[in-house]
Symmetry: D3
Subunit: 310 residues, 6 copies
């Protein structure tokens, strides 16, 4: 796996090349290749100082799956891979998802935790709404595959699913301390709060924003998906619909964070805080994984601080 390579170690394996470039040498004639290599462990920048012309041909034709061999080396604090050999692999021989990172939590476990959550819902309307989604031929699959972010937290396949289940479990626990909170709304709202990310990101060859995602964002895309599904459920109560949509609209908690509304019902407030806690605590866990044994993390821009890891 790419991410397991250490300075000086050799690597051999199959990779997806996300991006590539031919770069002229700085202080002599000629050029070298840079290739952004990815497998399911993560991304590593590759360099080829010399390469047969055939390689350039493959890349220009749009091929992006290769067997490579090389050696990892660190330069000014960043590890990259000097590639010595590269060999084309036909697309049909490979299952793409094996080359993309995915959640450390298995499908089986997520499915089981999801079902546990679903069985706790008593409202038939909310049960129906969730079922519509999770068994939808298109959305159900996408919901279980999409990442939760482009970077920062759960930026891998199944990330949305993992994040949604975690937030729902967390919010349910919090809500248990406040008797006037509606647990059905909590679970449904938490499982659906980020559902618009299905349309905000594409993730077939690396996680990227879609044009719709940039123009509208996952809050609006999620509202569309949910109101479309609700419209298929006869007699879905108007007030319940407003509350679910309000939860999605307000889950970022602040206008500055692109929520057009702030939480005005208890359930929206709890989901907002469960969401932010899951995302921030994930970054603590990640920093510990990435810097084992360190006392302090490097500066984490998304949290605007250094984290203490001991």
């Amino acid at each position: 796996m790419l991410k397991e390579c250490k300075n000086g170690e050799r690597f051999a394996g199959t990779v997806l090349v996300n991006e590539w470039k031919e770069v002229p040498f700085r202080q002599k004639s000629g050029a070298f290749l840079t290739l952004t290599c990815q497998d399911r462990s993560g991304i590593l920048q590759g360099k080829m100082w010399e390469y047969p012309p055939q390689v350039l041909g493959w890349l220009k034709e749009g091929h992006d799956i290769f067997n490579i061999r090389g050696v990892a080396s660190e330069y000014r604090g960043t590890l990259d891979l000097s590639i010595e050999e590269i060999q084309l692999i036909p697309k049909e021989e490979i299952d793409l998802t094996t080359l993309l990172p995915s959640s450390p939590v298995s499908e089986k476990e997520l499915e089981s935790r999801l079902q546990t959550l679903q069985t706790k819902i008593h409202s038939p309307f909310l049960q129906m709404l969730l079922n519509h989604f999770l068994e939808h031929p298109q959305w159900g699959q996408a919901y279980r595959q999409a990442p939760a972010a482009v970077k920062i937290h759960q930026a891998y396949l199944r990330g949305l699913w993992e994040h949604s289940v975690r937030v729902a479990e967390l919010a349910e626990g919090i809500a248990g301390h406040f008797p006037s909170i509606n647990q059905d709304l909590i679970i449904t709202g938490a499982l659906l709060h980020d559902v618009g990310k299905i349309g905000e990101y594409s993730y077939e060859r690396g996680i990227k924003f879609t044009t719709e995602g940039r123009l509208l964002g996952h809050i609006i895309l999620g509202l569309e998906l949910i109101s479309t599904e609700i419209s298929k459920i006869p007699e879905f109560p108007q007030e319940l619909r407003s509350k679910i949509l309000h939860i999605v609209s307000s889950h970022h908690g602040k206008y500055e964070w692109q929520s057009p509304k702030r939480p005005k019902i208890m359930e929206a407030l709890v989901i907002h805080y469960a969401d932010i806690m899951d995302a921030e605590l994930y970054q603590f866990e990640q920093a510990r994984n990435d810097h084992p044994g360190d006392e302090w993390s490097p500066y984490i821009p998304s949290m605007e601080r250094y984290l203490y890891l001991k």
Copy 2:
């Protein structure tokens, strides 16, 4: 008309009583009545120092249309109305819209300006979208009746319509200076940017926020209306749909002003500025009308400044 009364003048006419309260005297026993009176010129606070018990009965039963007589007097800078006589009028005898303020621009003029704008659109999809709206049995009527705000600008019947037409005309003029702007999008986007206000306000007896309006806001309500109508138009291009929805999402221009997106296309940028200019210049005009002959307006909280009126 209520708003034409000056300090010391007598008033007699038909009013809608929005709110009322029985208030005990401060420094002696007994009570007086306060009644918020409205006719199409605006709102005036009424007081009845003495009143027959029957009046209280009417109010408690929910009656709200009366003929009144009284005299206007100013107290600490605010004018109110000492009511001497009050007489119940049966609801069926009165057309409610004659008691609510409405746009100074006539229906006929707005309809004609609207049509002029529509004829400038070449895209059949955008023509269809606008027609769907404007001829919709429910939305078409609501669009032509709703106010543009609870207060601040065009807070009267037909205000939304007036504001939308003004913004469209303004935006069209601006866009004319930039050849790469799509005028079809400008006109359609400007006419629809605030369409969610149909659902954000109720305005049968004074302008108020609806519950849906407070939970979701007019941007989200507008997006729902528009995407519902678009879904009825076969083969409406996906990209055009994203652009129209983006214009609505971003028309407040900033996250802090509850726009979940900021303008990323030229048309959205122009509509945002046309919208804000119309709203702000309206307040200048209003301040001049409200304070004829004054050099400076009082402090205008929505603009956070004093305006120079000469």
Copy 3:
């Protein structure tokens, strides 16, 4: 009870007079008395339109406990009490705490929930620290009596205790989802995060800021109390001490909210969010209690919004 009085009802009972003033009539000679009356249900503004000179004498001498009789009346949306009779009660005859509002949660219940939390702590150092506090002749008592705020949330006797237990229970539940969080730190930190409020407020005759509270604030006062107690525990680990103090320093989460540090350990982050959730959800519950049957609360300045109560 004062808070149970409705417009037009009579009241008779014992009250604490927090503040009083002799007010000349506006439009005639002479004066009336205003008396801020408090019993354990809350505060009501009292008026005496006529009063024997003796009453003024009592007040000037600093007496503040009286039996009163009067009638409640509403003026412009605010209820107050027209006092007709007033009779001095000797201080020794009355237990002051019966005249101050206190937590709806009983001492017995709080003590039991507190003990449950304490038994979950395994670290002997943190056990000792908590014991020192809770059994301290002065602090233990104050911790169980102080309010959690001057207004906004749990602004009554035992409020600090109630809030601390709620935050600890909430934080413990949240932390249960994250295996790398130290539950001992969570419980101890949550129980002690606001301990400086012991010194920030005085609450013998109404809740007020102390001078020390205004000059230093409860974060710094809490840090002092905790580091004093820690210094009495031999071999208390330096790192554990830094973490506990960091939790207190950062529990407001942001510099703008007077936290000199932001959370840099997971435990501090969880306690910050548990604290803010308890305070905000309390305001939802309070709004429902104060406005039973209403769809929307009035504007809540501390949350900068209207709350939906249905």
Copy 4:
């Protein structure tokens, strides 16, 4: 032209060398030259890996106009020029303005649009003020030569003139929708709003801030220029003067954007928005030119967003 060079193409032509440096090689002895080359199409970074000592002599003596030959090559996304030959050109042989970028709109066209605007002004005082400026031996010339910015928008010769005319045309169109706006003030104010940029930038050899520009800024420098000219016009009305100066003071619209006043008259408001729209829409147009065929622009720091270009 420098900006027309593509990766791998050769260039030969006359350039102005704005800045230069002798850089020792990183990983071997010796040094190479970097030269910032500019012609009227824009700026390109040049490198000379080997150079005769004479070249260093020319540069040290302050010579900055050369004929060069070389080849363009891209390195990590940036194009630069490997210079192979360089030849000194005597200053007197070259017209400097041919080596600086200038507005795509011709002088002739700008002059004609300017005159059209001027003829619309009725106030003799404002006519005189504009004439004083535009025919001033020093300011008239500078106004027609200065750039509108150091970067971001219209950062080339004649940029101020182009921007001023565009803003005036735009503002005039907007104002046409509001009968109480004074068109004379709009046109004059728009043409003069940025006039202080004459003194804020120097632009003989690349666009740079002057010391006066940094210490005072173009708003204050503009106010000085205008009040000096006004003082030469007998009986210029005091109030008109205040309004013109207010327009200049407030044209950035916000204190944070260095306007010491915010618009308090309608004319100032319109000019502020016309100014900001011209600057922002220019950036859209520029992004389309710079990235033809792309769906999205790169991140635009001055607008804090990505722009959609389709």
Copy 5:
């Protein structure tokens, strides 16, 4: 003196009536008069419950100087004056400045402190600039009469002069610790930093903003005055001029406080801080004077806090 009156005391004296109003009684017919009375000790609100018609006549004709008799009484924490008798005084009999508050520091003392400061200046250009100002037939007088603010600090006649001298003395002392600071610039800049307040306020009958003051502000008005005077001094060095103008432009220190530039030279930085310290410490002194013996001031909006007065 008005400000020396205590609750229940009688007052007799000459006052300037700034504003007046006839107010109908709230709960009976008829009206009373409110008169804003001012003498040199400050302002007191007056009431006349009964008044001969003649009084109304005087007021309507614009008379504003009267001998009055009455009694002070406090209502809800505010003292006002029940006027029993009122008698017109002809304008010519009274020196208006005796009815306006003025600095507690005498003219003589200010003149002497000013001269001491002036003698410390060595630069002949800056000496000349100051002399031009202070001996200018119009500005010299205005500088010595104008207030320093409408409220908040030194809001009385001679306030600008007092504030300027204090800031200059303070800045000079600070600058003495930093050898590279130019003391000539410090003294001149400090004495002139607020000079535009001459035009920003009118103060003949109470302190008010002028229209020019609101449209342009004292920074721009000050820059105009100073650059006009500089233009009369032959060979005034350009750089010195830029520095003086920069000091004035940047003396508020931040864009949000309406400074179009922030301090970029040491002298500007010191004057900014001396200015803010003088204004803030003045408010401490004032709070102590206004609340003798109190431990804490009331909330001071301009400082956004309570001040500790012991």
Copy 6:
């Protein structure tokens, strides 16, 4: 001295190597060494293109003091040192403080200025508090050695001491203009305001944040130190204690700058401004030293502006 080296000059001397790294060559096999070299004049980045294996051994064993020889060269605006020879020096042969930068003001001078300040204090309690500190076996030494910052201002040994004395002298001068300020508090508060930096930084081998410093910060660490010392002084007045601690808590002046309180007493206000002025004016002086002869400094991030140096 390292900092005196100019481009092309040779260096020979003893250095402390703070950090080092083995860096593989970019475009060929093999590696070079980077060594961060420091002596008392400052820091210079070193490179060794070739090195005997023994050198790597020394570094891996943790040796960090060496005699080196090399030549300075500039690359893209930054000077570094090509090291040709390196020789290990035994730790015992060298006094570490000779290799760290320290204040340009001598110990003797600081001691004398400190004593002058101390003799001005009349309060025996504050005298005692200061003596406790300055003669404390551990704190007295640390106070005289610690830097005032990691970078930005007085970031060298004795920096805290120099800064404290400067702030005290400055604050005393300012306070002299305001008779109601307590000079004893000013001097004591100013000398102690930053005392927590003793614990916030480590500075034995380069200036770095400690873990306690990052978790608690110098305000809280300072409060702890001071309240510990106060607790040793019998009968130290409670109010004086609160004021001293308030001064430390509020000396950053704003919540956003990590002060949990804002200045509420005059002494705290003056110390805050003296502190900020000393830090900012230091940066002006530093910019002049670092860029002699330049008109403008480069952009100074900590002040968010360019400084004018002439």
